[in-house]
Structures are given as structure tokens and as C-alpha cells.
């Protein structure tokens, strides 16, 4: 089994998370994904990467972006993009689509925060 699938599969087991993807920040390429595939992640990847790049660059130099997270909320969903690592223009993002009706947002994001450090290390 793919190490990436195994890794993001752990995030997908969190209640209320419909889809998870790992996105290359430099190119917007979806490196791996799991869960509900109705969303065209290949089309969404570049936009997610662009948002993350803006988030990284907006604080200015010397500001840590290790834990930067970009969220977008609609009436039914929370879309969360978390920067797992970033250095010299390259990095990896974790994208999660959270169903607001199925979970407590705070608990879901807390669980993602707990799992994130191990996602790429395992």
C-alpha cells in the first residue's frame, strides 16, 4: 500500500472528514488523496497551493509559518488547508473537507493538528 495513502487514511478516519489530500505547494499537484472524490482535486490543487503561498508570504520575513492553516467555511462544510512543511519555495499541504453536520469543527481540527506532525514522518 502507498505510504501516502496510509498516512492520509489515518486523517480520513477522523469523524466528519469527507476527503483528504496531500498537495505539492510548489506546483499545486495533488500527490495523494483519499475519501470522497466528487471534488475535482486536480483542478483545486493549484488554488490551494496559491492560497498557501500567499499565507506564507503575507506575514513577512522572520515570521514562522510552521502551523499556518487556511480555512474556508460554507454553510455545510469547512475546507481546511494546513501547511505541513515549507522551505525555500517548496512544501506540502494537507487539505481536508470537513462535514459540519457530522462533527464538531474544533474536535476535527484538533485531531488533524495531532496527526499532522506524523503524516510525512511515517
Amino acid at each position: 500500500m502507498s505510504a501516502i495513502s496510509e498516512s492520509i487514511g489515518r486523517v480520513l478516519r477522523t469523524p466528519g472528514i469527507r476527503a483528504v489530500a496531500l498537495v505539492d505547494m510548489g506546483t499545486g499537484m495533488v500527490v495523494g488523496s483519499a475519501g470522497d472524490q466528487t471534488m475535482d482535486l486536480m483542478a483545486a490543487g493549484p488554488g490551494l497551493a496559491e492560497e498557501a503561498r500567499l499565507a506564507v508570504r503575507s506575514p513577512g520575513p522572520g515570521v514562522s509559518v510552521d502551523a499556518a492553516t487556511v480555512t474556508t467555511m460554507t454553510a455545510r462544510s469547512l475546507y481546511l488547508t494546513k501547511i505541513l512543511e515549507y522551505s525555500g519555495g517548496e512544501g506540502l499541504l494537507l487539505y481536508a473537507d470537513i462535514d459540519l453536520a457530522q462533527t464538531n469543527v474544533a474536535l476535527a481540527t484538533l485531531q488533524i493538528d495531532r496527526l499532522s506532525p506524523e503524516l510525512l514522518a511515517s
Partner: protein, 329 residues
């Protein structure tokens, strides 16, 4: 793979850097994938390269036009040279380098897989964005240092490549990654202070002689990612683009064409396809020429690899089988 599955006959196709899809090469790779190829597809062109297949999936793409995973792994903060050397030596003794790197905890398995996938997609983008003259398959176990496991699905890879080619056509700067040189513009100190590390690194190297491809190698980043970065920096007024590097010389079409009659596969291909077209044998030698002491006199002669180019074969023949002179010595 059985002979009836032998998929290839050479094709010739040319294209510029503004192609939107992988074209005939993509169709050929799709066909190999459908037939479950395990082997290597040699793509001849500029920059050309090798596409390694395992059971119909792509495990690696090598091209001189894009940094390989070894270079991406050598970036600061990744794997140190000494650790790499130790893992390489251990893997050479009978193991896989990817497994060895993970076993030594030099990199996580998921992170390594991501990096290999990113490098593979970048190399495929560079391969298809360039000129493709012909391609041919060698059915054998692929030999590559860092194979992607599990292999990449060809349809996914080609879709990603098409996306990148489409992005390339819409860049406001119209930057051509292997042609356009970039130059840093002079900026006031306060504006330079607002740059991040990646932008500063680019500006330090953008001396008017390097292209996006050159910068990718120098920075240890992908060509597509650097091209996007340069485009954004150009839009921000940080870089000037130009002058454009001249087109790479295309091998002349005159001269002897060598059919691959040495291999049964090539004979089969030529026979079944009824192609009058032959493949120019421009494959690089499998082994570089070496110097070797010829005797006590200290003379040297070049020894070319058996499968070297025509020129090297001529050199080898000339040195190892000297013609007797008419002087009657």
C-alpha cells in the same frame, strides 16, 4: 511480455514548448501501460530521456532537462551527503535505496514517496514540453536508483502533464523554461527586505545567463515550480526575462541511418509495421570511454564501450586494429 505484445515502432513527431498535451508520446505511453510493460522507454529528442515502467505503471522518469530525485533530496534540510553515501553503500550491497533511506530514518516513507512523485511528474512535464523525435521500448526490468512504489498511473501522469502544459501556455510572462534567461532587477533595500527566502535565492542566481531549468538545478527544485516562481516574480517587477537562448541544434537528417537489426525486437517492429523509417542510432554509450595503459612505453589508447556511438566505434577500431602501413616496416 510476449513478442506479440511488443508495442513499439518508432515514430517521429515534433513539437514546440507550447504544446498542450503529451501528444503522440502520451498515446504511446498509454499503450505501453495498457499492455503492462515492464521496461524502459527511451525518448529521443531534446531534452529526451527515459521512462521506466513496471507492470504498466511508471516508476521513474529520467531526463537531463529536470533535476532528479537525488538532487531534490540533497537540498539543505533534506539528506546530508555523508548520510546519503552510507545509505547508498548499504543499498549497493543488496537492497533498495528507497527502503534503506527510510530504514535509516533519513526520510519518512510518505515524504519520500511524495518527493519521488513530484520529481517524476516534473521530469515528464519537461520531457513532453520539449522536442520528441522518436521513442523505443526495451523490455527488461527497469534499472533506476529511486523507483516510485507503487508506480504512478499513466493516465494520472499524463493528466497532470497536460495541466502543466496548459498552465505554461497561460503564463503572463510567456516564459520558456529551457530558453529564456532571467535577470534580477535592481531593487531598493527596503523592497528586498520584504522578499522571502525562496525569492532571495532566485534573485541571487538570476544573473542573465540562467534559465528556469538552470535555476531548478541550482536550487534543487522542480522546473515547473521554478517557472511558476519566475513568472510571479516577473509580474512583481523583480525579474527581467531575456534574452532567449537559441534553439538547440537538431541532429541532421542526412548520414547513415542504422536500423536496430541487432535486436530481434527491432526487426519485429520494422517488419510488422512495414515502416520504411529507420531509427537513427544516437543512443549514448552504455559506458564511457576509458583510458588504459598500453604498455611500458606509457602510451594510452581509448577503449569505447561495445554499444557506443558510431564515432566511438570508429575510434575504437582505429586504435585497437591499426592498419598496416604501406611502408613495409
Amino acid at each position: 511480455m510476449t513478442e506479440s505484445q511488443e508495442p513499439v515502432f518508432p515514430f517521429r513527431a515534433t513539437g514546440g514548448p507550447r504544446r498542450m498535451t503529451a501528444g503522440p508520446l502520451g498515446e504511446m505511453l498509454t499503450e505501453y501501460a495498457a499492455r503492462g510493460l515492464s521496461g524502459t522507454v527511451r525518448v529521443i529528442g531534446d531534452p529526451g530521456g527515459l521512462v521506466h515502467f513496471s507492470q504498466g505503471g511508471v516508476v521513474a522518469v529520467e531526463t537531463p532537462g529536470a533535476p532528479g530525485p537525488e538532487l531534490l533530496l540533497s537540498r539543505p534540510g533534506q539528506i546530508s551527503g555523508s548520510s546519503w553515501a552510507l545509505a547508498y553503500a548499504a543499498a549497493a550491497a543488496g537492497g533498495q535505496l528507497t527502503a534503506e533511506l527510510v530504514r535509516r530514518k533519513l526520510i519518512g516513507a510518505a515524504r519520500l514517496e511524495a518527493l519521488l512523485r513530484i520529481a517524476l511528474a516534473d521530469a515528464m512535464f519537461v520531457l513532453t514540453a520539449g522536442q520528441v523525435d522518436s521513442c523505443e521500448a526495451e523490455v527488461a526490468e527497469p534499472v533506476c536508483l529511486l523507483p516510485l512504489d507503487p508506480p504512478a498511473d499513466v493516465s494520472w501522469l499524463l493528466a497532470e502533464t497536460s495541466r502543466r502544459l496548459a498552465v505554461l501556455t497561460t503564463l503572463p510572462s510567456q516564459l520558456v523554461p529551457d530558453r529564456d534567461r532571467v535577470t534580477a532587477k535592481a531593487r531598493p533595500l527596503d523592497q528586498r527586505a520584504r522578499l522571502d527566502d525562496a525569492q532571495r535565492d532566485v534573485l541571487a542566481l538570476a544573473n542573465g545567463r540562467r534559465t528556469a531549468r538552470d535555476l531548478a538545478f541550482a536550487l534543487g527544485r522542480g522546473v515547473f515550480a521554478v517557472t511558476g516562481e519566475l513568472d510571479r516574480m516577473h509580474a512583481a517587477g523583480l525579474l527581467a526575462i531575456g534574452p532567449r537562448r537559441g534553439a538547440a541544434p537538431v541532429p541532421p537528417l542526412t548520414g547513415p541511418l542504422v536500423t536496430r537489426a541487432e535486436t530481434a525486437a527491432a526487426g519485429h517492429r520494422a517488419g510488422t509495421a512495414g515502416q520504411a523509417e529507420a531509427v537513427r542510432e544516437i543512443s549514448p554509450p552504455r559506458e564511457l570511454p576509458r583510458r588504459r595503459a598500453a604498455g611500458r612505453g606509457g602510451a594510452h589508447h581509448a577503449e569505447a564501450a561495445p554499444s557506443g556511438s558510431a564515432l566511438l566505434r570508429v575510434l575504437r577500431l582505429g586504435f585497437s586494429n591499426p592498419q598496416p602501413s604501406d611502408g613495409g616496416h
